[in-house]
């Protein structure tokens, strides 16, 4: 009988294993550092961090939780895209199929829906934490700004996703929401001063958002593309700038007096 050590030993000597992990891990200072900066995912972290980064009570892990919620949403979202057509003839029945035909379709959809609610909740709490620890103060002013844009992106991601099932809930939520666009001063047809720019329901902000004067097929396609491509792309880029700046600004903030 071979012992477990023998087996892991021979696995680690295997050519394929070695090609993936490059070197053995021996729990030395050097190897612990290597584990972080030798790994494309872990190297978002510095090799060493202050204790408070590890103690939950300072950050509550909220930024990380927000990011994790985003990852869950990207994964479940991509799988959902396999079952979905952004057209008013098919969108609703696609969701019905998800409920009744697709294996685990209900759970998939639930995870995406509740995950989205969850992300909105935790991003707000993350902002509250950053405010309460005064972590937006120098030198982190700019990263707070990136954060604010990320907050808006999170709301917009959820908002554009609302319409995609093409049910009454989404339809009217988007109708109520985009009607606000019509009230934009100067640029919305019901907004103050818009008459001076000859703004009508057919050339105002709301029209641009919906691709029409009503919530219809074009609005569905637009919200789908914003939801699945444009905003996630933009938000991902911003998140990496955000993480980069956390490090460049000196890591998680520590008391400066």
């Amino acid at each position: 009988m071979k012992s477990l050590n023998d087996i892991t030993g021979s696995v680690k000597k295997n050519l394929i294993w070695k090609s993936i992990f490059r070197r053995d891990y021996r729990n030395t200072v050097r190897d612990r550092a290597q584990a972080v900066f030798g790994n494309v995912f872990l190297h978002l972290h510095p090799v060493q961090v202050r204790e408070s980064a590890v103690k939950l009570r300072f950050t509550w892990g909220m930024g990380g939780i927000t990011f994790f919620a985003f990852i869950i949403l990207v994964i479940t979202g991509v799988v959902l895209m396999f079952y979905y057509h952004p057209s008013i003839d098919q969108a609703y029945t696609d969701i019905k199929d998800l409920e009744f035909q697709v294996p685990f379709g209900v759970i998939l959809r639930n995870l995406h829906r509740w995950g989205a609610h969850f992300m909105v909740i935790v991003v707000m709490i993350h902002m509250f934490r950053v405010f309460m620890t005064g972590s937006y103060k120098a030198p982190r002013q700019f990263n707070w700004g990136i954060g604010v844009i990320l907050l808006v992106m999170t709301f917009l991601l959820s908002f554009t996703g609302y319409l995609t099932p093409w049910d009454q809930l989404g339809f009217w939520a988007i109708t109520v929401g985009t009607n606000m666009g019509a009230a934009t001063p100067l640029l919305g047809y019901q907004g103050p001063f818009s008459e001076y720019l000859h703004i009508t329901p057919y050339n105002d902000v709301r029209f641009a958002l919906l691709g029409g004067a009503q919530v219809g097929g074009n609005a569905l396609l637009r919200s789908y593309i914003w939801h699945c491509v444009a905003i996630p792309l933009f938000a991902t880029i911003l998140m990496f700038v955000h993480f980069w700046r956390v490090r460049k600004d000196g890591g998680i903030s520590k008391p400066q007096k």
């Binding site: 049910d167 009503q214 903030s253 520590k254 008391p255």
Partner: protein
């Protein structure tokens, strides 16, 4: 079923119930740590984290991240097994639900529609919220309280932010979700929604209180004076106060920062003021112009 239970157990509303619990929990935790640090500061001791050592990332941090990820994943999975996301009837432009509600995180803004016209509630105020948030690091020049929880060292910042965050944003969301029914009328959780209920609330404009038609020229002028003196008075009053009590602060702030802070602040405070005017004095508009009304 009891209408209250019915409302809070609606699948999408469970998220708001979860939010209320999470927000309360973290609010208490934050302030508890702030007061604890305040005691340390008062005693001249180092605050929490001040003497932190460095630790390896690999193992301590990566491990805790993994644990959090698993906890979140398990939690979301349980939530997703226990509660199904609703799918309503297929979209139908001819059947308007009553009330038609925006997504829950925008219900605070929808609530503002009771008190302000859409261009303000739906466009200008939300834009100012974003601008205000972006401005915070540049207008808060208090160097203290950087990197630790504290209340005593930044009282005004914490009070103003908390008021905006907990009351004007979160509380209005909770009201929008749980207390607003058909016609956007107020319903207590134990009241049945009644779709035929009409509430006739005779609202009037401010100048009507002194018997002047708000759409007449005198009404227009008085309204302009009231709004103007709120803005101008609001701009000048803190200046006079600080000039007398803390002139150094004014020089440190400088003109641009001062104007930004005070403008954002009086705009924010206009919201509760208008709410009281509307709810207590049944006043709809303060100032009516041919282009817009406030």
């Amino acid at each position: 079923m009891n209408p209250f239970i019915e409302i809070i157990t609606q699948p999408d509303n469970i998220a708001i119930v979860i939010m209320v619990f999470m927000v309360t929990f973290f609010m208490v935790w934050a302030f508890q740590q702030a007061f604890q640090n305040d005691r340390l500061l008062a005693a001249g001791l180092p605050v929490d984290g001040e003497n932190d050592r460095f630790v390896d990332t690999f193992k301590p941090l990566v491990r805790i991240e993994l644990i959090i990820a698993i906890v979140v994943m398990v939690g979301l999975t349980i939530w997703s097994i226990a509660v199904d996301a609703p799918l309503e009837e297929i979209a139908n432009p001819t059947i308007t639900p009553n009330p038609a509600k925006a997504p829950w995180y925008f219900l605070g803004l929808q609530e503002l529609l009771v008190y302000f016209d859409p261009w303000l509630a739906g466009v200008v105020l939300p834009s100012l919220i974003v601008v205000g948030l972006l401005a915070i690091p540049y207008i808060d020049i208090n160097p203290k309280g950087n990197g630790y929880y504290t209340f005593s060292e930044r009282k005004y910042a914490v009070i103003i932010f908390s008021f905006g965050f907990f009351v004007l944003w979160l509380l209005l969301i909770v009201i929008g979700v749980f207390f607003r029914g058909p016609g956007w009328l107020w319903y207590w959780p134990w009241q049945e929604w009644d779709h035929s209920r009409v509430v006739f609330e005779p609202t009037r404009d401010l100048t009507a209180l002194i018997g002047i038609d708000s759409r007449s020229l005198p009404g227009f002028i008085i309204g302009a004076l009231v709004v103007g003196s709120y803005m101008v008075g609001g701009m000048i009053a803190p200046y006079r106060y600080w000039k007398k009590n803390n002139p150094e602060l004014l020089t440190q702030l400088g003109m641009v920062r001062y104007v930004t802070i005070v403008f954002l602040f009086i705009t924010m405070m206009a919201i509760p003021i208008k709410m009281v005017l509307r709810l207590v004095f049944l006043i709809k508009y303060v100032w009516i112009t041919p282009w817009f009304s406030v």
